[in-house]
Symmetry: C2
Subunit: 148 residues, 2 copies
């Protein structure tokens, strides 16, 4: 089990990869983000996307899946996340892309009120098969400290 | 068509509501966020959630759906969103909840480089049937200015 003490500011991890299929892009968009450029090639061709692009929230969901799988392989004493800062959709994600998710720990703070807890801030970057960064966010995670 | 000029800082909108079903919570979690407290009643009972709670990314996706439906009823000259700031999961979302999504315009800025564009910042708040705020974020949206 990895505790708050075990994580170092500046350390980097490759969480894993996710292959984006057209079927899944359409399924997510029809359910949660049916803007024309996410569900129609014709409509997308008239926008800067050029062709159907994944919903930004879909990219976030795919990223979460890769992170959860990584945490299943290397369990951490995490207690959930109060939120995310500076979520940015930098470039379109297209069907057929293969995304790689990286994390870099940018900050850690012990809890002021609870001596057994601490907070970690991780900047997650998602890069496509051409090495282009397509999404970035900084997540806040509450963790247990190593029992003494 | 609603242009950048038509939106006023401080104005508020109710985007709509979304009913959260157990089936959908499980489906999303199995696909994108299979942490134990999102997929197992037994595991969730051992955490502060108490019972299965929706993935925070699922709550974001449901919110997007309600916003897209509102924008379909009242089209805006939006050009997509570069991102979201201060996304916070304030309280758990449970199967059976009915969520209401509100927006409040908190800032608008004309583009420095492109005279036909402007940016709007909207704080979106999601509230459950008991009036408890469960999620909040501030989205950045690029919009066209009214053609002169």
């Amino acid at each position: 089990m990895i505790y708050w003490e075990d994580l170092e500011v500046g350390s980097e991890t490759e969480f894993g990869t996710y292959h984006v299929t057209r079927e899944e892009v359409l399924e997510f968009a029809h359910k949660y983000d049916p803007q024309p450029f996410h569900v129609s090639d014709e409509a997308a061709a008239k926008t800067h996307f050029g062709r159907i692009a994944a919903s930004g929230w879909h990219t976030a969901a795919m990223t979460m899946r890769v992170i959860v799988d990584a945490l299943t392989r290397e369990p951490q004493a995490g207690l959930g996340s109060p939120g995310v800062d500076e979520l940015r959709w930098l470039k379109p994600v297209y069907p057929g892309d293969t995304l790689t998710m990286h994390g870099r720990i940018v900050d850690k703070t012990p809890s002021r009120s609870k001596p057994d807890l601490g907070t970690i801030r991780t900047q997650t970057t998602v890069t496509n098969q051409d090495g282009v960064d397509v999404m970035r966010f900084t997540s806040i995670v509450l963790m247990k400290r190593r029992p003494s």
